[in-house]
Amino acid sequence: MAHASGTLGFERKTATLSAGAMDYYVAGDGEPIVFLHGTGGLRWTRPLQMLSEKFRVHLPIYPGFDGSAPSDKIDSMPALASLIADFIGKEIGTGCDVIGLSFGGWTACWLAANHPEMVELLVLEAPAGFRPGGKGGLQRDPDGMQRMLFTHPENRLPEDDRTFEETLANYDAGQRFHGGIALDEDLVAKLADIRSSTLLLYGTAEIGIPPETVHILKENLPKCDVIYVYDAAHQMQVDQPERYFNVVSDYLERGEAFIVRRSELAEAS
């Protein structure tokens, strides 16, 4: 298994699911949340660690990613979403808040659409799958990838030691599920059915996911708050860990009420 040398206190486990085994990491106490990683694989970031200080954070590794064995049974986005639903049912036992980054956001939308009972609040970070005309997209050269992913690569943790080649291998693993399509029209047609309140995060320096993604989701999701994270590219957890954490943790704690600013006085009491 190719992954970081450190895991920020997360414990590695294996879930036995209907479609086979799936590895995952877990840490923290509190309300359970599931974070679905991007097509580059699981990156260790400060916000994951910070979230684990408030919530019980689950980080499943999709079949075929980060050196894990692919599954013949999981060959589409809806199938991957069903696998995650099975994971939530078996390991958590009840619906929970779900965060999805990029490819993980795409998966999370399928999960919320097809398994609404498994998703309470939904957080999408620059979700893939909504790129009309193929705008944006992955960069497959080292410089282009760096530019697409980060405005502040210097913020990467030592634990986030993924190589360029490992990232490319994960990109290729993702192809099995989505077949390289840029705009998932079947999913767009289902967005209006998603019941979960949704927080959509998008970096102001994002170039991999086009701005049209925001507009498609905002137009079609019944309950969607959009937050632009200033000076962040695709990996906003790396570029702006505090900003990301402030918004996400507040949203997970207060839901739609997060638009109302809390006074410092109230927080102190």
């Binding site: 405005t151 102001t204 320096a205 925001v214 507009h215 905002k218 137009e219 708050d225 959009v226 937050i227 632009y228 994270v229 200033y230 000076d231 702006q240 900003r243 990301y244 402030n246 918004v247 997060f258 638009i259 109302v260 600013r261």
Partner: protein, 404 residues
């Protein structure tokens, strides 16, 4: 050539004395203030009748130097009382203000004026940061972020939130949206090469309210054009505005004498009281990222009052004289700078208001007809370049050094 009418709205009878900034306001007389506002607003509105293409507002705080601490308030009057001219803003001092408020008020002005607004995204002169108690070191970062946020507030088709370094808003959806789409043209200050390059990267017009000399002005414009080309767009004369003190009279002698006296009041009395505050800010903060820019500003501040009208005429940094003389001066500026806009500051210090009005009429009757066709260019705004990734500080420093 297009012309903008600029007016600082100065207090025109401040006593000459050693004072420090912020200026003690016990000298402000409300009744006189009321009369000044009436006169000054009428003067700006008269600019439409006298053939100006635009009339402009600006923003300064805590000083008799200018009574326009909120340019949008004056702008709304001008928008309502005029029909043709553009309303130009040499404020708002965006880093000092709530950017959502700026987005809203600019959108209101654009709609009220029927799409005649040219917005300013200004950083302000250094001492303004004391007035609103904000660190001057943050001015550039605040301007960067606020600019993106305001553009987003203007253009985003649905409610959104913003999580930034200096600004956080969870739910934004301004009413009204701007009249001009995708948004009104933006002008940014170009007091040096760095800021000119910044304006180009942001797809903004270059606004140089005052230029120290034609050579320096040309260098700044060249930096602007160079940077715009690197960003994939080509500025035209219509994107470049250069500003000059302007005094037109029946004879050269009369104009020079009047302007000489007014400039003396302006530089010694009005500018003098804020000089110490500007020096403190420049010496104690990183308002300018490059030391050379800071030194240049301080030098200009220290030597402003030493320059004579003759020096300024020679340097091409004022428009002063009888109409024929001013026509020649404008032709020289057009030829040497290639700008398509000239910003005429027609109320310098305590220049008598009747002389200002007479100068405007001379401009209408004898100057404008001779220079109108210079630097003809289409009325197009710069392209919308989207979010800007500013260079890393080290790179910005290299650019600053190379540019100077």
């Amino acid at each position: 050539m297009r012309f903008n009418l600029f007016h600082l709205m100065p207090w025109d009878s401040f006593p000459e004395r050693d004072d420090v900034w912020p200026v003690n306001n016990s000298d402000f007389e409300p009744k006189k203030g009321h009369e000044l506002y009436q006169t000054y607003i009428d003067t700006l509105i008269y600019g439409e009748e006298c053939g100006w293409d635009a009339i402009g507002c600006n923003e300064h705080h805590f000083s008799p130097y200018g009574l326009m601490n909120n340019c949008n308030l004056i702008g709304s009057i001008l928008a309502h009382r005029t029909e043709r001219v553009k309303i130009t803003m040499f404020g708002n001092l965006v880093p000092l203000l709530n950017p959502i408020r700026v987005a809203e008020e600019y959108a209101m002005l654009d709609v009220i004026s029927g799409g005649r607004l040219m917005t300013g995204f200004m950083r302000g002169i250094p001492h303004e940061y004391i007035a609103y108690n904000l660190p001057p070191d943050e001015s550039r970062a605040r301007l960067n972020e606020a600019t993106q946020l305001i553009k987003k507030a203007w253009t985003e088709p649905a409610p959104f939130g913003w999580e930034g370094e200096h600004y956080q808003f969870r739910a934004v959806s301004i009413w009204p949206r701007p009249y001009q789409q995708p948004h009104p043209p933006i002008m940014m200050s170009g007091s040096n090469e760095n800021s000119a390059r910044y304006a180009a990267r942001n797809g903004a017009m270059l606004g140089m309210v005052f230029i120290p000399n034609l050579e320096k002005g040309r260098q700044i414009i060249e930096a602007y054009i160079d940077e715009a080309r690197k960003c994939g767009w080509e500025p035209g004369p219509q994107h470049i505005l250069c500003g000059f003190h302007t005094c037109i009279a029946e004879t050269d002698e009369k104009a020079q004498e009047a302007l000489g006296s007014a400039v003396k009041y302006f530089t010694k009395t009005l500018l003098g009281v804020q000089r110490n505050a500007q020096q403190i800010v420049l010496q104690k903060t990183k308002y300018y990222r490059s030391q050379s820019n800071s030194d240049f500003f301080l030098h200009r501040l220290a030597h402003a009052r030493e320059r004579t009208i003759e020096d300024a005429v020679h340097d091409g940094t004022i428009l002063c004289g009888k109409p024929e003389t001013v026509v020649k001066q404008i032709k020289r500026i057009a030829s040497e700078l290639g700008c398509g806009w000239i910003n005429t500051n027609i109320k310098i210090g305590n220049l008598p208001n009747d002389m200002v009005t007479r100068g405007m009429e001379l401009f209408r009757d004898y100057v404008a007809p001779e220079v109108r066709d210079l630097q003809k260019s289409p009325e197009t705004a710069p392209p919308d370049l989207g979010p800007v990734r500013e260079p890393e500080p080290e790179l910005a420093q290299k650019i600053a050094v190379a540019g100077e």
